[in-house]
Amino acid sequence: MKVKSPLEIYKYLPKTNCKECGYETCMSFAAQIIERTVKPTDCPPLVRDAEKDSKVKKQLEELIELTSPEIAEVIIGVGDNAVKIGGEEVLHRHELTFFNPTAFFFDVWDTLDENTLHERCSRVVEYRKFYVGFSLTLDGIAVRCTSNDPKRFREVVKKVAEYGKPMILVALNPECMRVALEEVADRRPLIYAATEANWKEFLKLALEFKVPVTLRSKNLDTLKSMAKTFKEAGVKDIVLDPVTEPLGEGLKRSFERVIQLRRTAILGGDKDVAYPIMVTPISAWLIEGDDVTKGYWEAVIASTFIIKYADIMILRNLEQYTVMPTIILRYNIYTDPRTPVQVESGLREINNPGPDDPVFITTNFALTYYTVESDLISGNIKGWLLVLDTGGLGVEVSVAGGQFNATKVKELLDETKIAEKVNHKYLVIPGLAARLKGAIEDETGWNVLVGPIDSGRIKGWLEGNWPPKKE
């Protein structure tokens, strides 16, 4: 966004500190706008006044313009499934955070047999990967026109639309695109792609059907020309595809083009290229080799550009060995580095434990917690899991930093009334917290057992250590 200081935003706000937005002061609300956790329209009095007073309305519009993201945001699809891309502010995640994760679209094509079409669409719809408390899912389906037959393309697009996922329509022939849009324009698909050869027809389609459009060119002058032309003609939702070449020098140049586009938009302030970027790892399927080679290389290209600025991708391989690592990489790269990922502290009951079962303790760092939790669940271990609030830090770091300490352990024992639920006084602490054994025993009066360093070894550890030998 153009403004860097809350002061610049503050002057547009009512300055009444009315707290209607949920923040104590207008200044702290302004600071939240800078952090992108709220929008100007989250200030209720400002919105109300804008409705009545055209002068305020103008101010609000100005503020929205000033605080809009560096890279335009584009929405594909409608309703709950719609996916938002772009909206980025920085080149490195530690400078703020990345906002809208790279959207994954998997391809189908209109000469595909019905069963395979259904199978691929279903896999996209049904995909789930459980990770730090979330279910990671896939974003959409790209329908390619391989028949060059408008009627056929229309039919298949209609079928795919029924799966309810956002779509990219892939056809360079404007006639095919037109009939498909007549069928599904109200689903707000992204159309792919306007090129130097067909841009007039695609510009017409984008305007007529009011759908987002991808512009495609290897030549960045041409790409910028097209973006300027489309914008001037009234198209707001633009995606840039600087062409993904899958191999050798071609891939190297693609890498350069993507970085130059994003860097020039953000650091160079070139608004004509400040749009979401499309990358097509699917082009890896043009190389020689077996499916695993192609799938691996597709995942390599995808990973490169998940890290370096792709906002949306078209992919082919739906096998877990590539979907799982790329979807997790996406989650990792787009996690907000400003807030440690954490879970609620307290007591969790694992596998319906009874009074004889062990009591474990871990931290509220999501990664630690879910690893321990899933280890206990998958190991069929019955137990009580205490989750200590370490401010989202892992065991090793919080022991060193003092967030994991005996006083807090005692408080947690008291709060959760765990002593009333079990008929023993044995607490299993993580191996990495071994040095707190004495302090916790002194503070709480419980016996402390030092568990393994890796929660994956709890099962084996219990065999030798539980129930505890009476002293």
């Binding site: 391989t146 017409k204 020039t264």
Partner: protein, 455 residues
């Protein structure tokens, strides 16, 4: 598509609004309009002006007008002739877009693209990453056949369009002095050499293309064999005999014993310019640094994902122990994909950017223990322990890619030296690095072909 607007339809519309007749007007054929007598009946004008739904009428005409300039001309002519002050007679282009019932906006398609020149934003850094050479040939007092130099960057990793970076990152393969716990997919490649570190090192270089080997002296671990340092370093001598690439030597990770082990290793490898892995803040780093200085080796400065600690340890090594600037490599800690990779990535990226911006406590090459990727359960577990997860599929294929993507991610953050294990992962990561270093010329002829491919 242009809709036909005929005079008949015009009359129908007039009728709809209770205009019975246009007196004094005679319309011939489709186009010609003539006025009899030259005088317009004021009643007609009043009739039209007085229409309560006048604007609606205008809009209904608008529907036709929008599409056919011909019709517009008719109506303009007609209204002018009738003396009715229709808005479109005066400024048709203003009224037309306001036509409400129409969905289709005015499409102004330009004839050609607006010309534009893309000017890439240039980034230059003042700083430079130190160049560190590992291994020494006979000329330099060692017995290596080749040396490996890392670092020297003046731009972000692989941004060769900003500045030429002299050295592509290199890959070392891990070798252990006793069989370690390994994932099945890794173990099967080393099954025949697990009990012979020298053969293991040979295999890593000859069969799997390692640029260097890292020998981990885990047998020295007091909790395992507790092998004395003096004895353990014999394996180092064997490995130095077996391969001619530069060697990295690691301890067991025991803070008390490692300094002694690495000291002995430094001694027996005098002149070979090995890397001692590693010095950390919570051990006797000075002893390791002194050994490196004394015998001409490189120190790996290892911290736990904390840029400030990294800075502190580097300063200690540089200023307190006096290690030369060309003899420090950093290991800011590698976490696996899905298990803290985001922290590792951002930490390394920040360290690298600081180095490029001129922070002389941080401008050293970076090393990554990429083998850590195998700690992720997705890399080795048979299937998901979580109910409702899409099945994980073949783990033989999951493991290597876990290592590849962990490495690739950190390569983009600035890693210069990878320590890896799976031969397939080594091959793919190298291929990718060679590609971005433009060492691979071959390209796909038609990168558009995927758009219409039928497989």
């Amino acid at each position: 598509m242009a809709e036909k607007f005929t005079i008949e339809e015009f009359f129908k519309l007039l009728k709809k609004y209770n205009v019975e007749e246009l007196e004094g007007v005679r319309i011939e054929g489709d186009l010609e309009i003539e006025f009899e007598g030259g005088v317009i009946d004021p009643n007609l004008i009043n009739a039209l002006i007085g229409l309560s739904s006048y604007m609606q009428l205008i809009q209904e005409f608008g529907a036709f007008l929008y599409h056919t300039n011909m019709a517009l001309t008719y109506l303009q002519r007609l209204s002018q002739a009738l003396g009715i002050p229709t808005p479109f007679a005066a400024a048709p282009s203003v009224v037309v877009p306001e036509v409400k019932p129409l969905e289709v906006p005015e499409l102004k398609i330009p004839d050609k693209l607006i010309e534009a020149k893309f000017k890439p934003y240039r980034v230059e850094y003042l700083g430079k990453i130190e160049e560190v050479t590992l291994g020494a040939t006979r000329a330099d007092g060692g017995t290596r056949e080749k040396t490996v130099t890392i670092g020297g960057e003046r731009s972000l990793a692989f941004y060769l369009f900003d500045a030429e970076n002299p050295h592509m990152p290199v890959i070392a393969i891990d070798v252990f002095d006793r069989p370690p716990a390994l994932a099945k997919a890794v173990r099967e490649h080393y099954e025949d050499v697990l009990n012979d570190p020298a053969e293991w090192a040979k295999k890593a270089v000859k069969d799997f293309g390692a640029d260097l080997v890292t020998l981990h002296l885990i047998s020295t671990d007091p909790l395992l064999e507790n092998k004395p340092a003096r004895e353990a370093v014999k394996t180092l001598e064997e490995v130095l005999q077996a391969v001619k690439v530069p060697v990295i030597v690691g301890g067991s990770g025991n803070k008390e014993k490692d300094p002694e082990v690495l000291e002995k290793a430094a001694e027996v490898a005098e002149g070979e310019r090995i890397m001692l892995a590693s010095a950390t803040l919570d051990m006797d780093w000075e002893r390791i640094a002194n050994a490196a200085k004394k015998y001409g080796h490189v120190v790996l400065s290892w911290t736990q994902m904390d840029i400030n600690n990294q800075k502190t340890l580097n300063r200690y090594l540089l200023r307190r122990a006096g290690v030369p600037r060309d003899s420090i490599v950093m290991d800011p800690t590698t976490a696996a994909l899905g298990y803290g990779l985001d922290y590792a990535f951002t930490n390394m990226e920040r360290i690298r950017i600081s180095g490029l911006r001129g922070d002389e406590d941080l401008n050293f090459p970076i090393s990554s223990g990429t083998t850590n990727a195998w700690g992720a359960r997705e890399a080795w577990m048979k299937d998901s322990p979580i109910e409702g997860d899409t099945p994980w599929g073949s783990r033989e294929l999951r493991g290597p890619i876990w290592e590849i993507i962990t490495g690739l991610t950190l390569a983009l953050a600035g890693v210069d030296l990878f320590m890896m294990m799976h031969p397939g992962a080594v091959v793919v990561l190298k291929e990718w690095m060679n590609t971005l270093y433009e060492n691979i010329k071959e390209s796909v002829k038609d990168p558009d072909a995927w758009i219409t491919m039928e497989v």
